[in-house]
């Protein structure tokens, strides 16, 4: 019995290990996690919780969930002035980070699929490139 179970577990791990790299969304999320750590974490924090009344949260953010294009726009070109997230108004600014379109797509896939956020429709480099100033 034990060997059957470990056999199944073993098979499963092999499947997971081999399947993962082929899933473009998972790959993009993984790259997006590195982008997040470099460009975003110092304000939006490790768990996407933001800083109370200063930097809006990304975790369970209604803005992020409901404004896909605008969210991409914010990351690509920056944001200035009032923004309402989860019923709290923030009046700061975020500068454009100088990310390439593929990096914007990766970090979007990461933040929309982490900390309880879920987004099945993958953001692609092409989609980002179509969002103009």
């Amino acid at each position: 019995m034990k060997s059957i179970i470990s056999g199944i577990i073993g098979l499963f791990s092999i499947l997971v290990v081999h399947l993962k790299p082929q899933d473009p969304l998972l790959e993009s999320i993984k790259r997006g996690s590195d982008v997040y750590k470099d460009f975003c974490v110092s304000c939006h924090m490790s768990y996407g919780e933001g800083v109370k009344n200063v930097y809006p949260p990304l975790a369970k953010s209604d803005f992020l969930r409901e404004n896909r294009e605008e969210s991409i726009h914010v990351i690509k070109y920056g944001q200035k002035g009032k923004i309402v997230v989860n019923n709290v108004t923030y009046n700061g600014s975020m500068s454009a980070q100088g990310l390439s379109d593929d990096e914007v797509a990766d970090v979007m896939n990461y933040i929309t699929n982490t900390w309880g956020n879920k987004n099945d429709k993958m953001v692609t480099e092409e989609e980002v490139s179509n969002i103009k100033k």
Partner: protein, 375 residues
């Protein structure tokens, strides 16, 4: 017994994962009887990173996105011929400072993120140039750190001159803390000292080490975004961003090691620790450390008679908490901290100008002058 083991493991993990931090002993307070207010003198700026005050009372402002703005008689003019700026993460057009003898030689010094040189990405550079008819001329790159990297964090960079005319500037560790800051044969995580023409002073601390970067003056720094000459002692003061907690104020001395990342009062952003020591022989202790972090940018020390009660006080901008911090120093120790103009916005730079007034640069707003309240 087994349960006990689990308990031990859990306790261990808890302590390991959520490193304990010692909060700053002196807490920042609301100001009492603040006799000053702010007046917006230059509106509508995005990220005014640095300011320089010209003898004709006009002001030069660097915008992180790459513009150099000349504000004169109420009008903004974009200066042409600015350096090629690599805008990436925290990198962009950074500080600007005039030569102490600007009136006679016209030299202006600027730091910026540059992709010049080999490899993808960029690193911090310093240039000098002159301003002629709204154009930068006589441009000379005095120093450019290596190697280029696409990492977006920790470029430094502030500029200051000391009383002997030496030029100091800071470069952050480029988020490569285990490689750069403790290695004097590498750039980044350093304070540099050069002559005003970019040449290396013969008495720089590491000139006898053939492998070292000879422009290095001190090392073991993380990301210094504040630097100023003390108006009385002439010493070079800096502050630097810590990780989560552990921002520091330091006075820089030749050849000294400020400890990053071997010693630190900070922890990782995810709450784990990377070092459990805050002191070590051969490494300098800060004049002050901030826990929690205020994310300091811009540094000034007051000696103007416009602010009689602030004499010798340190002023530092807080990006994170959107205020100007005033630190009262007594016998080399911080005795009191005040939060001035809370909620004004991400405070990027602070300077005492030749007119004696203190100016602050606020992201998304502009440049404010600190003036006495009308009675």
């Amino acid at each position: 017994m087994k349960k006990f083991h689990y308990l031990l493991v859990i306790i261990f993990i808890t302590f390991y994962a959520c490193a304990q931090q010692i909060e700053s002993e002196i807490k920042a307070q609301e100001p009492q009887d603040l006799n000053y207010t702010t007046e917006l003198v230059i509106p509508d700026l995005d990220i005014p990173w640095g300011m320089a005050f010209l003898p004709d009372s006009s002001i030069l402002i660097t915008e992180k996105s790459g513009d150099l703005i000349h504000f004169k008689d109420g009008t903004k003019t974009n200066i042409e011929g600015t350096p090629e700026v690599y805008v990436r993460g925290q990198g962009g057009f950074l500080d600007i400072e005039l030569h102490p003898d600007y009136e006679n030689n016209g030299w202006i010094y600027m730091t910026y993120a540059s992709s010049e040189g080999n490899g993808n990405g960029g690193n911090t550079a310093i240039m000098r140039a002159k301003l002629n008819n709204n154009t930068l001329t006589n441009k000379e790159v005095l120093y450019k750190a290596e190697p280029n990297t696409k990492i977006g964090r920790h470029w430094g960079s502030r500029i200051a001159f000391d009383n002997d005319g030496y030029l100091y500037f800071s470069i952050g560790d480029r988020a490569n803390r285990d490689v750069n800051p403790q290695d004097i044969t590498k750039d980044c995580g350093k304070i540099y000292r050069i002559k005003d023409d970019g040449s290396i002073p013969q008495d720089n601390p590491f000139v006898d080490n053939a492998d070292a970067k000879h422009a290095i003056y001190s090392y073991g720094h993380r990301n210094p975004q504040g630097m100023t000459k003390h108006p009385i002692t002439g010493e070079i003061y800096i502050h630097e961003h810590g990780p989560q907690g552990g921002d520091e104020i330091n006075i820089v001395y030749a050849g000294k090691n400020y400890g990053w990342p071997i010693i630190s009062y900070g922890i990782n952003y995810d709450g784990t620790s990377f070092t459990n020591i805050t002191e070590k022989d051969g490494m300098e202790q800060p004049l002050f450390y901030w826990v929690p972090s205020i994310a300091p940018s811009g540094l000034a020390i007051v000696n103007s008679d416009k602010y009689p009660k602030w004499q010798g006080n340190i002023l530092a901008g807080s990006l994170k908490f959107s205020y100007l911090e005033r630190l009262v120093i007594v016998d080399g120790k911080v005795e009191k901290r005040e939060k001035l103009f809370e909620n004004i916005g991400r405070l990027r730079d602070v300077k005492q100008a030749p007119d004696g007034f203190i100016y602050i640069a606020v992201e998304g707003k502009g440049i404010y002058k600190i003036i006495p309240k009308k009675i």
